[in-house]
Symmetry: C2
Subunit: 322 residues, 2 copies
Amino acid sequence: MSDSVIWANNLLSRAAEERLVRAVGAKRLILGEVVSDWPEPEVDHRARDADIIFGQPHPTDIIESRGIKWAHISTSGIDRYDNEGVRAAIRHRDAIMTNSSDVYYDAVAQHVVAFILADCRQLLFAIEMQRAGRDAAQMEIRRRSRMINELNVLIVGYGRIGRRLAELIKPFGANVMSLRRAATEDDLARAIAQADLPSALAAADHVVNILPDNPSTANFFDSDRFRQMKRGARYYSVGRGITTDHGALADVLNSGWVSAAYLDVTDPEPLPTGHPLRAVSSCFVTPHCASGHHNEDLRLVEHFLENLRRFESGATMLNRII
Amino acid sequence: MSDSVIWANNLLSRAAEERLVRAVGAKRLILGEVVSDWPEPEVDHRARDADIIFGQPHPTDIIESRGIKWAHISTSGIDRYDNEGVRAAIRHRDAIMTNSSDVYYDAVAQHVVAFILADCRQLLFAIEMQRAGRDAAQMEIRRRSRMINELNVLIVGYGRIGRRLAELIKPFGANVMSLRRAATEDDLARAIAQADLPSALAAADHVVNILPDNPSTANFFDSDRFRQMKRGARYYSVGRGITTDHGALADVLNSGWVSAAYLDVTDPEPLPTGHPLRAVSSCFVTPHCASGHHNEDLRLVEHFLENLRRFESGATMLNRII
């Protein structure tokens, strides 16, 4: 391998960090300090001398870099780097930016199927009844249960996670619709034009929000859009918390207009004590763990190493953004 | 339609009963009394004069029937009729017996996927943490989470439910193995010979018991078989409660040998107060609702009516057992 200097600041398991050090060699690796779980990145001037940045650098360190050639972001979402300053810095230096969506998209899609099936099979309600020792709920649970077959699932924000989700739930017999930027068709999901979103919302039994965080998506699901949904529909959000108006969601859940919400992302995370959504029993929140899996750190490093191999041999990079 | 007399004793919703009466005509329909939810059948001498029996007749009424031509059992499991007396009575009269597995098999398969995904995504744990206001569990949940990809799933009792389950989880990337009566192969699941069951149990991350209730399956999963499982594996049971030794299951859950159990069936149902399994926090029980869905009564009637059409025109019957 070449002797390009790599700065990395991932919060890695010991095994994953050892794998990284062993693969690239300690000599050319600068490990940024990690101060806590799930940290906000800190400025680290040493990153500005690196050829390659892997992890969650402070955006300023990319902008002020002396010779960056490639930045590999260790998440799927790139909100922090999705701005003109960073883009210009990368382009100006003829550098590359990649993310780690290969590592995470499948887990998020599986998490959504888990949510949808838990709802269809009334799993959380049934186990709550079990824990409370209430056995008489059998007929009630059977009557509340659904099969996914013939239910309409609308995926709003149809990227890799959305496509994988469609692939996983099609065999159940769901009708899948999708709102996507480009009105291209695929075999998995019927594409909906932006103008037809109200009628798609009115037809959907399950509405899955996988929108990224950008200026056009803030509070995309607001009071109006929730009211366009079919009475009794279910809402899922696994992209970015800021795309949901949480106050409006609490209202439509409390009124029963939306039957249940399953959120892996909120704004802020976690929701503060006393937040209206916390008191809503039909709101189920997992703590931004949809993309998580036990060996994610090791997979993150392997994915970086594969891209490093490609970078050094001039091959096509995986998950290239810029 | 012909004027054969139909006796029926299903516990049907009003809409489903109206559909049945409208379709076959009140004149030739004898409705057996239903005394409670999920009843044990009672002897009803009127059933013995019917040509067609639909529902859950008392087995004696089949054996003592004066001219039964067809019995359509309204469940998937036929434990109650799976004996020589009933079989001989049907055969002796050149009659037909069918069940309702078309109505239920898919829901049960989807319920199992819901169980498996809830486990992989640590959904029940995450929601329990949410309800308790413990937000700090994020990294723990991520580390405990799994994707189904590359996990070994062993299906013990590979009939229609098992095949549908395999069909639904293959797209996730699971390796599916199956123990079945006939050692036939299909594309969905690698067939395991009975002699190879111990090594299959040792390889499986998820063991799904869908065995029917018959003399060879009582306590099939006993202490020995649980000990043959890989440490940390998960156990699912959705066929018949009697196929699991519940005391042995409580032991292996308490010792941590089996990480978690998800049961839709127990013996008895529900488990009595004070039963050892009730105190095990890694044991999740749904109340025999895996096959349930909100329109099951209507589908049950439609399925019967389709078979009635076939019966009266001499076409091949659906779900024929005898």
